[in-house]
Amino acid sequence: MPTQPLRRICCVEDDDDIRRIVRLSLERIGGMTVDLVADPAVAIDSMIAFRPDLVMLDWMMPGIDGPALLRKMREVPETRALPVVFITAKASQRELAELSALGAAGTISKPFAPKDLPGQLRAIWNALP
């Protein structure tokens, strides 16, 4: 379990509306600091600049999808150790198993409840080694 509480979140999500909801949920309800990234191509630079505690990745994005971005992050020293939580509309067990095989810390399925989102992320954070 990490020693410090979860404060800084980087969210990579191509949908404007969902980005807005994530920001409202995490800032207003969770009291966290949020960095929103719309373009996955610049996500790693943004993460290096922002230095988040945890990263939320959308599974399906144009250009680079979530799993591809995760693999890229693992190649960059500054982002290699960051815990990643996937947001996905897919719900099948096979796909969820695929995500944990990639090394995801957890998954949050769409649609998620904004009032529960900070709690869900904290639960995943607290479960980290």
Partner: protein
């Protein structure tokens, strides 16, 4: 058939002895009237001839005796005729023996009583009568020599004695000759008897042969008729088969063991765009299947021809005459003769190109539905939830109510999408269950916790049985909770306000039964037959009021069946409905 087979086995020589006896008895009785008439006439003649002499009383007595015997014999004769039967032949023969003995005795008595008293002339007359009567007996009783022997003995015996004691030398000599005459007569009767018996035997054999011949003829006629019928049936089914093949929408090829096309139906012409005349004589694999195709290539065919087993569901790409590539599903059946050689191979083939395309589109649609509908719903539900938390300040009362309505309906839309996706996954066989050991009591408690808030919205309380059985089921935990949620939410929706829903479980014969009971209005009669169907809802007005997609029970039924169980409902005693499902237990209670 069996019957005639039995009669066939009985050899013609093995004649039924009782039938021969019956024939002989019938023959003897046939002669009897002659015997009776003869006795009567000759008796009358003797009486007339001997009348003049003294001892008239004796003659009358004797004549009386002759009358009694002839009348009795006639009575026997008519009794036999009236009986008209050929059974009890032995008994009738015995009676005839008595009769023969009686007639013989009459003549014997004539010899004993009348002979000594008469003059020489009348004695000669009597002698001739007696010898005549004895000789006539040969013909009368030829069918049974013992009868004749008895008859003749009863005449010759007393007569010989009378002659021997007459004192006349001539008569004494005759007395010496008489036994010889008797023996010769019996010998003749014996020979005649056997001639007649073999005659009757022959007749019997002939009759039997005729009967068998007749039966055989009938059998042959039957068999010919059967053959003709069978031929007709074969012709009819041949025509039917030809018609099936001709009119079938499925392409049918007949090939030899190398895959060379021998015949094909019009549907095959349509599917592949070739006329039959273009394909007959050519190899199916070489002509219709692309060279790089592996599902049905020449190597596969060689293996198939060696194995000679029917094959079905072989999907392969095929080439049409116009160069278009289609996907076909083949079923191949080798027709094998008794020597295990392939006579021909029947291939049935269906163009499934469009079906595969439809499946692909459906799958794509489902995937799109899943992603493209969920993403906007995430924004809608998320936004409404954030508004409804009150974090942006209190709304006007109407606006607050409308925001709640919007959130509730967005949630309903999401439920519907999820249910449709679930059903689609189940029906297409893509739903994979993740079975694990689930403690039933914990699962029930969890389902109560999860659904308590929902039930409270309807003013309904959930009541779990005090001590649910501690039993483990091997099932998909998440899906089982889904089933419980569906059943509990249904029960809560249909319960009266202030009512309660009861949950219970039991375990018998390694099967676990879970029950969810409500005290609602029960299931309307007209709705019962389609309760587990899609979009099944008894009252659409109620749906609008209380929510629900109408897919819940359909999903429950499929899920429970996928987990090897069954689900059903019953009217609850005292009103309401109870839903039950059974699952196989993984372990016995501790």
């Amino acid at each position: 058939m069996n019957h005639s087979a039995e009669s066939e086995q009985a050899a013609p020589t093995a004649v039924d002895a009782s039938a021969v006896l019956a024939e002989r008895v019938s023959h003897l009785y046939g002669q009897l009237p002659i015997g009776i008439a003869m006795t009567f006439v000759i008796g009358a003649l003797a009486t007339y001839e001997l009348w003049e002499v003294q001892l008239r009383q004796r003659v009358i007595l004797w004549w009386g005796l002759v009358l009694v015997v002839t009348v009795a014999s006639a009575g026997l004769y008519f009794a036999y005729r009236r009986a008209g039967e050929r059974t009890h032949a032995k008994r009738w023969l015995s009676w005839l023996a008595v009769c023969a003995l009686a007639i013989g005795a009459c003549w014997g008595l004539a010899a004993a009583v009348l002979f000594p008293l008469n003059s020489s002339e009348e004695r000669v007359f009597l002698t001739i009568l007696l010898v005549g009567a004895t000789s006539a007996g040969i013909v009368l009783f030829a069918a049974s020599w013992p009868l004749f022997a008895m008859y003749a003995a009863s005449i010759v015996g007393p007569f010989t004695y009378v002659l021997a004691t007459s004192g006349s030398r001539l008569f004494t000599e005759i007395a010496l000759v008489l036994p010889l005459f008797y023996l010769v007569s019996v010998g003749v009767a014996y020979r005649l008897h056997h001639v007649l018996v073999s005659g009757y035997r022959l007749r019997q054999s002939y009759r039997r042969l005729t009967e068998e011949h007749h039966a055989l003829n009938l059998r042959i006629e039957d068999q010919i008729q059967e053959l003709v019928d069978a031929q007709r049936e074969i012709q009819a089914s041949g025509r039917k088969l030809a018609l099936y093949s001709e009119r079938a929408p499925i392409a049918v090829f007949e090939m030899d063991s190398n895959g060379t096309i021998l015949d094909m139906n019009p549907a095959a012409e349509t599917v592949f765009g070739h006329a039959a005349s273009e394909l007959v004589g050519r190899n199916l694999v070489r002509t219709l299947i692309p060279q790089d195709e592996t599902a049905l290539d020449l190597a596969w065919w060689a293996d198939f021809a060696a194995q000679r087993n029917p094959e079905a569901g072989i999907r392969t790409r095929c080439l049409r005459r116009d160069g278009l590539e289609i996907v076909c599903e083949f079923s191949l059946t080798p027709l094998v003769n008794e020597a295990q050689d392939i006579v021909s191979v029947i291939a049935q083939c269906r163009d499934i190109t469009q079906q595969l395309e439809a499946e692909r589109i459906k799958k794509e649609f489902t995937s799109t539905l899943s992603h493209e509908l969920r993403t906007p719903l995430t924004s809608i539900i998320g936004s409404l939830q954030l508004i409804n938390t009150g974090m942006f300040g209190e709304l006007d009362q109407d606006a607050a109510e409308l925001a709640l309505v919007a959130e509730r309906n967005a949630q309903r839309l999401l439920d519907l999408i999820n249910d449709i996706l679930d059903l689609e996954r189940i029906d297409s066989g893509r739903l994979s269950l993740h079975a694990e050991d689930v403690a039933l009591d914990e699962l029930l408690q969890e389902s109560v916790v999860l659904n308590r808030a929902y039930a409270e919205r309807f003013g309904v309380r959930l009541r779990l049985q005090a001590e649910p059985p501690k039993v483990v089921v091997h099932a998909d935990r998440r899906r089982l909770l889904q089933v419980m949620t569906n059943l509990i939410s249904n029960a809560a929706k249909f319960s009266p306000e202030g009512g309660h829903v009861e949950l219970s479980a039991s375990c018998t014969n390694a099967r676990v039964q879970v029950s969810v009971e409500d005290r609602g209005p029960g299931i309307p009669q007209e709705f019962r037959s389609r309760i587990f169907g899609r979009f099944a809802q008894a009252d659409s007005a109620l749906t609008r009021k209380k929510g629900g997609t109408g897919l819940g029970l359909a999903i429950c039924k499929r899920l429970i069946e996928l987990m090897g169980g069954e689900i059903w409902y019953a009217d609850r005693e005292g009103g309401g409905t109870s839903f039950h499902f059974k699952l196989p237990a993984a372990a016995a209670p501790d």
